[in-house]
């Protein structure tokens, strides 16, 4: 048992580190650019040097590297202050789906531009009536000649307002049971009939959008998978949710809370001397360390050629509620100044309060706490699925509530 790289891994890590040291954009290079331009600049630089989308085949702009190289690259890149990526959905979810289902000409046309950051993609899946129960989506697609006409509404679409292309699941046949009547497409986000409205979040940000479709026309050649096979194609997209490994997570974590507890006072003594404070901090330390070492175990398995499975849901299931609780606790440590988020005077320039307000979203986006527990229960422990009252019933006869 040790934490060392194999000789090959060590060589790769060294190579990655050397390139990053020489090529991470400097502050002056990025000055005056908005976050999308910054992200594009960094992505293009990686692409040109063969450090983008490491696991993709070289012909599509990747490096043809293994899973372990990807992990090592991620660890090394996270040690540098690099522009935040806006390509995660395109590269992590759209691309694997295109690789499995798209025609060769489309792969050649789209994948290199995804790798280089020239084109940004979004994912048009969730709907007002289809969240955790994604297959309950209602956006209609109807075939007319060589085209499909799409009407309906998507929601929670990250980055729709700056995306060039999107992946889209629709209901092509409402008269069959819900999983059987779906059809999957990709489309240009500038297609006439698409209207994008930002959603203001409780945190004040607006990263998500509502996307309305009014008689939007999509060529049949942009269908991925067979008509009615949209659910199977969607599963390919969802299976590629990134396994988060190694990254401890910046922001409100044990380190921040521990340092805060050393600084603020309880009854004229540093809060860290308080037994109740120590007990709670210890519990979070154990969770963070547990996730870190679970990641090490996963990496070991990958290093031996195994593929990580649904057990990786543990990261978000533990991390998201922990972040919320820690932000709340840190504000308690600040006592009567806890609510102040004015960056001029707030502790950590308001990061704690911002985290507190963003945390509810973390527990919902990309699989709610409850869905993650279902995944662990069903796919790791092997417990049966819940009874589905809509099973086998034509979609247009399934009872609907508010939505």
């Amino acid at each position: 048992m040790d934490f060392n790289d194999t000789a090959t891994e060590a060589r790769f890590r060294e190579e990655a580190r050397a390139w990053l040291t020489a090529n991470v954009p400097t502050a002056s290079e990025l000055e005056g650019l908005d976050y999308i331009a910054k992200a594009r600049l960094w992505q293009k630089r990686k692409y040109d040097a063969g450090w983008a989308c490491l696991r993709w085949p070289k012909e599509y702009g990747g490096r043809g590297a293994g899973a372990m190289d990807q992990v090592i690259w991620g660890q090394e890149e996270s040690k540098f202050d690099t522009p935040q990526s806006v390509f995660m959905i395109g590269q992590g979810m759209a691309a694997p789906t295109l690789m499995t289902y798209a025609a060769d000409e489309h792969k050649k046309r789209f994948l290199p531009k995804l790798a280089s950051g020239e084109e940004i993609w979004c994912q048009l899946f969730s709907e007002p009536a289809g969240g955790s129960d994604l297959a309950a989506l209602r956006t209609r697609s109807e075939k007319r000649g060589d085209e499909w006409i799409v009407n309906g509404q998507k929601i929670w679409t990250s980055g729709a307002h700056y995306s060039d292309w999107g992946i889209l699941v629709t209901r092509s046949d409402p008269t069959v049971p819900k999983h059987k009547g779906l059809t999957y497409f990709f489309l240009n986000m500038k297609t006439p009939g698409i209207e994008i409205k930002p959603i203001k979040q409780i945190s004040g940000g607006a990263n998500f959008n509502e996307v309305y479709f009014t008689d939007v026309r999509i060529p049949d050649s942009q269908r991925l998978g067979a008509v009615g096979q949209g659910w199977q194609v969607s599963l390919t997209t969802l299976m590629n949710e990134r396994a988060s490994i190694g990254a401890g997570g910046a922001g409100v974590n044990f380190n921040l809370a521990y340092k805060l507890a050393q600084k603020v006072m309880i009854d004229d003594r540093p809060a860290i001397e308080d037994r109740a404070v120590r007990a709670r901090l210890a519990n979070w330390y154990v969770e963070e360390a547990g996730l870190k070492y679970t990641g090490y175990r996963t990496m070991t398995a990958m290093s031996r050629g195994q593929t990580p499975g649904p057990e990786n849901s543990i990261g978000k299931a533990v991390g998201a509620p922990k972040t919320q609780d820690m932000a709340s606790f840190c504000m308690d440590l600040l006592e009567m100044s806890g609510a102040i988020n004015d960056p001029e005077i707030a502790e950590a320039a308001g990061l704690i309060q911002l985290t507190f307000m963003a945390a509810p979203g973390g527990r919902i986006a990309g699989g709610t706490d409850e869905i993650l527990l279902n995944i662990l229960a069903e796919r790791v422990l092997g417990l049966p699925q819940d009874v589905r009252v809509d099973k086998g019933i034509p979609f247009n006869e399934v009872p609907t509530g508010r939505g």
């Binding site: 040790d2 007990a279 154990v286 070492y293 679970t294 990496m299 070991t300 409850e370």
Partner: protein, 372 residues
Amino acid sequence: MNFEFSEEQNLLREQAHGFLKTNCPPAAVRKILEGKASYDEKLWRQIVEMGWTATTIPEQYGGLGLGYLELCVIAEELGRAAAPVPFSSSVYLATEALLLAGSQEQKELWLPRLAAGEVIGTFALAEGPGRTSPKSLKVALSKGRLRGTKIGVVDGDIADFAIVVAKSRVGDKASWYLVDLTQRNVKRSVVSTLDPTRSHASITFRSADAQLVGADGAGWALTQKLLDRAAILFAWEQVGGADAALNMAKEYALGRYAFGRSIASYQAIKHKLATAYIKNTLARSNCYYGAWALNTNAAELALAAASARVAAIQAYYFASKENIQTHGGMGFTWEFDCQFYYRRAKLLSVNIGSESFWQDRLITAVEHSNVA
């Protein structure tokens, strides 16, 4: 990255698992729970024959000279089986104490006999309710003889000797003494506890013959060191037990039907068991790190030990109580085995310091390290 047990160690795990499945089934645990015997003597003999008590004892003292990763593997399986044997007292505590601080003569005299299972050892710290400290210690040497009472010493009734923490006037105000418990000046009485599958005794020293272990006035520092090392091995037992409790709950839920379907299909049960899985996984991963730290005697040992211990206490408590809950009324009956884990989880969690004791030590370890 090679954060995994080796093939040989996994083979040992399979062997230990198979052996205990055959020789320590729930019926064997129940026999000790309901009977008069203090421990399963036959099982203990077999464990000794397999060499488990000799695992980390160097070959020069009649041991196998294996590493701590092997001992962690064995600990997990013993915990899974809730084995009614004095392994933790004799191996994680008494053997470790002698390896830590025993003189050449003490090691030569006791280690080969511990390895061969000719003697059982234990460790005696507590003297009453609450947390023991050098100040609270009353057991002390008087005119070269040991006097005072230790209460609720695990395996105190069957052990041949104990490492006793006694008051000292010098150094850190505590010293270790090796005491032959079979001598006339030692009075032992069995104490009933929450977990009758692990026997306890109160031990009174009436001018008992006692031999200093380590330096006079070094006993408190040694105790801390010993507890750190033992915490990792206890934590592995706890993880094994937590895993067994989760499995038991899962198997029962799958086969139990209510309102026309398996209760394992209800989210209330699924989420409960998934939460147990999460706690067990976090504990296991912390234990991996603890195993590594113990095996390499790493500088991070104290932090690794406290993390493994806190996580394992929490995981086993949760899994054992929710196992009963998943079983419903049947889980509360004497006939069902759910009680084994519920009892053992609590016993192990107070055995070498409670959850809050180890939470506090964890933060102390962070304060002493430059990790944070």
